[in-house]
């Protein structure tokens, strides 16, 4: 119990620190969020122009395409995870040693700054999202239960992407190129997970690749939950799959963390 209370107190301190840090750099943080909107708007335009010329694509009409990419811009925000880029730096500079001295796992820092970033940005993202919906006006209906399921799906997707990034962060114990590797995995995720297009648009071979990877549950699945493409009974199956992937990646991260720490100690001492 006291362990838990200590953890809660540390999280409060970390979150407050990160929150004020984010507010201090609000200009750069704001511009970063603009960057995250560029992709969805571009691909929305691509697919809408194709749909206008050829008719519906894999059952997606004009409104479905618009709804998909607007939801994508929201999901992108909640799934962002970037510690794979930072962890290598901590190792190379030895900053990790100082963090290891503190009485709790250094990864809590990543969780806190991740949560703080997402919370701070909501200040301007909510008006921007509202503006985008009012501008594009997709025809879509949203029941309260769907909204709830969406919150669940996007929460799990965020956890999943965070753990994915965490696994790549751990690879920094062995290679200085872990951030390039993470970039490659992100590019693959964009391609087969529902970034460039809904997975329903993918050629059969790529859809096959997608089925063996967690990327669909990180991006495409939560989007399809809120746009209503996933039928109700499949939502639970998708949530279970997300949970399964999360458990798998968490185990992998813990194994790599223990092994990496042994190695790190050997180099540092």
């Amino acid at each position: 119990m006291s362990v838990l209370r200590k953890l809660v107190a540390s999280y409060r301190a970390l979150l407050v620190a990160r929150w004020s840090e984010m507010l201090q750099y609000r200009a750069s943080v704001f511009i970063w969020t603009l960057w995250s909107l560029a992709g969805p708007v571009i691909h929305l335009s691509v697919w809408r122009s194709i749909q206008e010329a050829n008719g519906d694509i894999a059952g997606y009409g004009r409104d479905d395409i618009v709804a998909y990419f607007l939801a994508q811009s929201i999901v992108y925000h909640f799934i962002a995870a970037w510690q794979a880029y930072e962890f290598g730096y901590l190792i190379r500079t030895g900053t990790l040693s100082a963090r290891l001295l503190k009485p709790f796992d250094p990864s809590h820092h990543f969780v806190a700054s991740n949560v703080a970033f997402k919370a701070v940005n909501l200040i301007w993202l909510i008006p921007i999202w509202t503006g985008m919906f009012l501008y594009f006006r997709p025809e879509m209906s949203l029941s309260p239960s769907r909204a709830l399921l969406f919150a669940l799906a996007v929460g799990l997707a965020g956890t999943l992407e965070f753990l994915w990034s965490q696994v790549f962060a751990m690879l920094s114990f062995w290679t200085v190129r872990s951030d390039s590797l993470f970039d490659l995995s992100e590019a693959l995720s964009f391609l087969v997970g529902g970034g460039i297009a809904p997975v329903a648009f993918l050629p059969a071979a790529l859809a096959q690749v997608s089925a063996y990877l967690p990327f669909y549950y990180i991006l495409g699945f939560p989007i399809e939950v809120i746009t209503g493409v996933v039928p109700a009974e499949a939502v639970w199956r998708g949530l279970a799959a997300s949970l399964g992937w999360s458990a798998l990646l968490f185990a992998l991260y813990r194994i790599l963390w223990r092994a990496g720490l042994k190695r790190y100690g050997a180099v540092g001492a």
Binding site: I31, V46, I50, A53, R177, A187, L191, A197
Partner: protein, 262 residues
């Protein structure tokens, strides 16, 4: 002019000498670029497995466009971005004085001192893509079209240079503007696809206000609808006007610069 060309050549040689010390960086860049190339190809596969054309552009024509996008992107990463970065640092630290007192055009020195050679791999990939696009549709393209494309691309690069020059000149008044480049990159992403697909306001924004997309669409457009003499002349005139006004703006910036110490 000749003197500046010679200086440019000298800078290029020095940059190559510097970068050959970091050969691993070059090879890993090459490998990464190869992966990006695969990614670009897969992206086109996804799009064109659903359609024959994107707003009237065939696959071959879009390949030329994407190639152009990477040619331009590589030039920005190799030439414009690193010099911009260094210039901003110098204004912030006050060492810009050393640059301005050198016996050559300050604008020229600030823009072309350093070339990040490994980044040019991206341009080479873009050139390869554009060539593939042209060759795949062989028979429908002729030498005049290629010449018009190269001319339009050169004009596009001048417009882009002018835009960057105007952007970095702002540093004289607003010292902390590194983030402005991130806005550039966000909008530049739009240049991957034909401009016609975007809603009107976005098309106007990336064509006229922050002209990042028109510089790839316009040259490649020659392979879709053909270039008219009037169109090319207009584009060249726009480039000349952009360069002239950006240079003027730069000179105003320099004259208002009072160094860090005074």
């Amino acid at each position: 002019m000749i003197r500046h060309l010679r200086l440019f050549w000298l800078f290029a040689k020095l940059s190559i000498q510097d970068d050959t010390a970091y050969r691993a960086e070059f090879w890993s860049r090459l490998l990464m670029t190869f992966y990006w190339f695969l990614g670009v190809a897969a992206g086109l596969w996804v799009i064109f497995s659903n359609t024959e054309t994107v707003s009237g552009w065939t696959l071959d024509q879009v390949i030329v466009l994407v190639g152009t996008f990477h040619i331009v992107g590589g030039v920005v990463r190799a030439v414009l971005a690193p010099n911009f970065q260094r210039f901003v640092e110098e204004v912030q630290s006050g060492t810009l004085d050393f640059l301005l007192t050198k016996p050559a055009s300050g604008q020229f020195l600030a823009s072309f001192r350093r070339i990040a050679v490994p980044q040019l791999v991206e341009s080479a990939m873009g050139l390869g893509l554009a060539t593939i696009g042209v060759v795949r549709a062989a028979g429908t393209f002729d030498a005049a079209q290629v010449a018009a494309y190269l001319f339009a691309l050169a004009c596009g690069l001048v417009i882009l240079y002018s835009f960057w020059l105007a952007m970095i000149t702002l540093v004289f008044w607003f010292v902390r503007i590194e983030n402005v480049t991130q806005i550039f990159w966000s909008l530049f992403e739009a240049a991957r696809f034909p401009l016609d697909i975007y809603p009107g306001w976005l098309r106007a924004l990336v064509s006229y206000i922050i002209p990042v997309a028109v510089i790839t669409t316009f040259p490649a457009q020659g392979f879709v609808t053909g270039h008219s003499w009037a169109g090319l002349a207009g584009f060249a005139a726009a480039a000349a006007a952009a360069l002239a006004s950006a240079s003027l703006f730069w000179r105003r910036g320099v004259s208002s610069y009072t160094s860090a110490s005074s």
